[in-house]
Each structure stands twice: as C-alpha cells, then as structure tokens.
Symmetry: C2
Subunit: 365 residues, 2 copies
Amino acid sequence: MKRRDFLTTAAVGAGALAFTGCHRAEETASKGSANINKGKKVTLKLATSWPAHFPIMGTGVDTFAKRCGELSGGTLEIKVFAKNILVPAMQVFDATSAAQIDAFHSGVYYWKGKNSAFSIFGGMPLGLTSEEMITWLKFGGGYELWRELYGKFNLYPLIGGTTGPQMGGWFKKEIKSLADLKGLKMRIPGLGGEVMKRLGVNPVLLPAGEIYTALERGTIDATEWVGPALDSMMGFAKAAPYYYTGWHEPGSILEITFNKARWEKLSDEHRAIITAASEEMTGNMLQEFRYKNAKALAELPDTVQIKTFPKEMMEAAKVALNDVLMDESAKSDDFKCVLKSYEAFYKLNKPWDDISTKNFLEIRS
Amino acid sequence: MKRRDFLTTAAVGAGALAFTGCHRAEETASKGSANINKGKKVTLKLATSWPAHFPIMGTGVDTFAKRCGELSGGTLEIKVFAKNILVPAMQVFDATSAAQIDAFHSGVYYWKGKNSAFSIFGGMPLGLTSEEMITWLKFGGGYELWRELYGKFNLYPLIGGTTGPQMGGWFKKEIKSLADLKGLKMRIPGLGGEVMKRLGVNPVLLPAGEIYTALERGTIDATEWVGPALDSMMGFAKAAPYYYTGWHEPGSILEITFNKARWEKLSDEHRAIITAASEEMTGNMLQEFRYKNAKALAELPDTVQIKTFPKEMMEAAKVALNDVLMDESAKSDDFKCVLKSYEAFYKLNKPWDDISTKNFLEIRS
C-alpha cells in the first residue's frame, strides 16, 4: 500500500486550500441573526472539564466569562461551572448537544469517540504548532469543517485557548533507543498514544488523581501531562527523573463550544462579544503558558534531567503516525476529508515556517 | 569595558521580573474611570501610518474599528484615517499626544527619536519573537514600562498587531562572507540598521515609494521590507534575486495608542471593548501574516534564491548588537531600565523556548 505523503514539505499552491466542505449538500446552517434579543439580559450556563479555577485553563475561562460581562455592559452573563457540578467532565459535549447546558470549555481530543475526525481539530503529533493550528482553522478552511461536523451534534465551536508545545513526559528510566520503549507502560491518550502503541509501548489511561501514585509505585513506567507549569503541581519529578521534550502535542487546541440553536438565537452583538473574548482568551492563555512554563522550568529540582528522545525513535514515530492516519482515513470519510485540508495547510505552511521561525530560532542560539 | 551578557541563556529566577518601574515616584496615573459616559455614543478619530486599506496592517485596523462598533452595539465609533489625510504618517504620535486626534495605529520603532527606549517595545534584532514579545509585555513587566514612558507624552499604548518574523532583505549580490557587506548601501532602519552599520554597511533611509527604483538602478545594493506577502507587492524580486532569511525583526510590535486623557475619560465598557478588539486584531494579524507569507513564498518567481546569511556575519551581528545596546544604555537611563526588564524576560524565556518550540521544529523537520 502506498504510504501517505503526509510529512513531505513540498510547497503546494493555494488552490489546494480552496477545498472547504466535507458534505457540501448539508451546509444549510441558518444564517439568520436574532437581534430581537438585543439589549435583553442573557444568562448562559457553561460547564468545563476542569476543576474549579484550574490554573491557566480554568482561570482562563473564568476571565473569559468575566470579560463577556464587561464587554456587554452586563447584558451577557456566562455562569461557569467546574467539572462534575452540573455535568461530569466527560459529558459536557453531550449535555451541550442536548441543550441541557448552553456551552462547554474542554479539549477537542476528548471527543474522538463521537467522530474520529474531531481529534485533528485538537492537534496532531509531529504536526502544527498552536499558532499554525489557529492559522489553519481561521485561514486554511479548518473552522468551516469543524463547524460543519460539530453542526451534526447541534454544536458551534470556537477556539477556547491553546497550550503551546507540550512536553513528552516523565520517565522512570532513560530511553536510549527505540528498543527501550518495548513493553513500557505509559499514561498517554489520543493519537500520541496510538503512535506509541505502534512503537511497542502499552498506553494506559488513568484519571488525573491516580497518575502520581501509579508512577511512584511503578504501576506505570512513564506519563505525559502538559508542561513544566502544570506538571510541577503533580509532583512527577519525585517519581520519574527523566523529563522528555515534546513531539506528540505541539499545539493542542481547547474549545468553547455552544449549543448551536442557542448560539443562533443570540444577538449579533453577543455573538461578537463571545468571539472577541474567546480570541483574547486564546492569546492570553498561550502567553500565560509560555511565561509560567519558563518560570517552572527554571525552578525544577536539580534531580530532573531534561532529555530528547533518540532520533531513531522520532523517525519511527513519523512512520507510525502515517500508518495511524492511513488507518483512520480508511475507516472514516470525515477523517479523510479533514486530514486532506490539514495536510494542504501543513504543506503550504512548512516551507515558510522553516525559513522564518525555525531558521531564526537557530540563528538566535 | 566588560561586555554586557545580553545573549547568554542562563536561567534566572522569577525574582528578576519583579522589577516593574523606571520612575516609581512618577507612577501616579489616574485610575478613576468615567462611567458617567456609559451608553453615550462616542466617536474617536484614529490616524494610521499606512496607506488606506494597506494589506494586513491597514485592513487589520479597519477590522478593529468595525469590531469596536459591533461589540458596543454602535455606541463606540472609531473613524480610521489613512496616512496624510488628517495627519502625516510620521506625525501621528505628536498629533495624538497633543490631542489633535484621539489615537493612532503605527509601528513603535518609528519613535526612537522621542525616547531611544521606545525602540525596545517595537522589537529587537536577534531578540524575542512576536509571541515572546507579547508575553514580555503582558507578563514580564513590559507593558508597565511602556505605559509609564508613553504617559510622559500623554499617551496610552496597546499592542496593535505584530508582523511575525520578517525576512532579512533582498540583495543584488550574494553575501558569502562578512567582508561582502563592506560599503554596501542598504535600506534598513532602526536597531537593525545600527548593527549593519557596525558590520560595514552604509544604511540608508528611503520612503517606501522610492525603494524599488533605487534598487533597480543600483543606487542601493539591498533593501529589507517585511516578508513575502508584502515584499511581493513591491516587485523586489525583479531587481535583486537573493532573498535572505531574517534576523533583525523577529517579532515587530505595532501599536494602537490613545491620547491618555481621552482614554481615561472613556467608560470601563468602551476601554474593555477597545482592549479586547486589539487583542483579537493582534492574533488575527499574526495568523494572516503567516498564511499570506506562506502563500506568497510558494508563488515567488523561480529566479529568487532564498539564502541564509553566513554564520560569521550573524556572530559579528550579535557582538555589534551588544555594543549598540551598551552605547544606548550609557546614553539613556530609560533605555537601560527597559533593557534590564527585557533581558530578564529573555533569559527566563530562552531555556523554555529552546526545549519546546525550537526543539520541536527541529524534530518535525
């Protein structure tokens, strides 16, 4: 079977990006605004997948909600509910779809079971960075596809922040070769976990509250989480001294997603306010992650050793990722369709990023 | 004389960033809001340094102004005036300071003559990228210093977009060694021009409309501009085939700056609207630059040769930059003070960026 040419860097013309819909015939979403509600006080219930005031992600959505109030002169109130208060963390998608609540703030990668294509909107191992993901969504046709596919669940998504590049995780033993991965038990979800599985790892899922103990007791050999700022709070440094640089979540996208019917009933002004506030939140979150990761990195205990995975492992990961993407494409037309748009942007963007950001960071060092 | 240790990458603790003011005694800006104006229709005149609807930068501020109207339900109108309509391009700072207009959209680097320290807020050769600059301004104390120093001119600045990494410029002859720079006439302004001067270049300033002809006729040997998207419109490829990757403007910051007294008279709601709309504009502009640069790069004529400056030249540029920064610091306490804050953030940020973004972009390739 011919390998997909996902990771090549050949430039493609902009024509490839003209492609905008997976199911054109179904693109009949109502465009009608409901300015009938203009000026009326509106209260929306938004549930998150995070504990109350969880650093950066949770406080980000708290600030977003406050901002909607400020921008609207108090006519738009967004009530934020931490996980499990109104809705369990992993049921916010369904509850919003069913209009039990109005909106949710979560990570897109959680909803792969609903449609495998959704995982691409959340980010891709070895793929686009946060800034690149947002550029694809806004300028490369990604938003149109996301909204079309979420529309089938009566949902309307907005980018609700991004983490920036995440770390590769904490390992009890050093990984010196691809062979060292064989049989390793690692807490790693999503497409990254799929790739690791094909490299011989046994990926496991664990609730956040159980990871540290499992790592400390040796029930698992490794875990990924986010980056220095949030990882430090988990205490992983005490249980696993090797901290690996990242590859599997270079630009994870969070979402603020609304019940679509409810969204369409909002006034133009309230929709503009929510959109602008979500954009402000996205920039702030990326910058806050950068600042707090830099601080936390400087404050890690001396026992932590920062490592980069062996080159042979990363090369094998690229091959395995291509296989995963081929398999998912064969199983789902939606996945294939979204991947096509993503790849077109990837190939357009990479030559520019290589001679601009990447090249500059090398010159600076 | 001991060289400043500007470009070292040693991590510093967060303590260094607690420093927040150049002139603490003068930090007595009024905090009083004027909600007396809430709900009243407000019209502000904003002049730019760009031609009408200039791509990305000019259209960005057009969208910003429209957004302020949408977010305020029409109670906040921002009238945008292209350069030379109300005010000449390079007099928008003075006109806003004197309250002849309410606000301006321009590049911070233009106002070096007012206070050399301002150039740092606009970006630094071999320094921070756009995302890093914004993080320094918001989280590293940069905004406080910028607002304090602009306050002396009765101005209140907001980030008004950013270009992302710019290219190093178009050269008629290939630069194979540092020696090839000697006597070269190049259109390059700002700190980048200062550095180039110390490398033997004769930096010249030319109005935008005269650059192409000067390059085509050989009056100048080289010019920098922005990046593929905007450079393509200037036709430089026809006059100079060597297109060099960037080092001198890795993250230039644009500004939307208000007359401070006028800003303080706005309602809390209108100030929140302007701030959120400027944040939305900043993200959109960075992403639009990325997308359009990638497209324009793919469409450059085959005659263009993308080149990277010789390593010895970049090493010499780092030394020359340190000398420029020392000289400017010796001449101005404000420059020294702002540079201290910038350097503290630079040293905190770089170890994190090196193991996250830089490392990832290398793995991806």
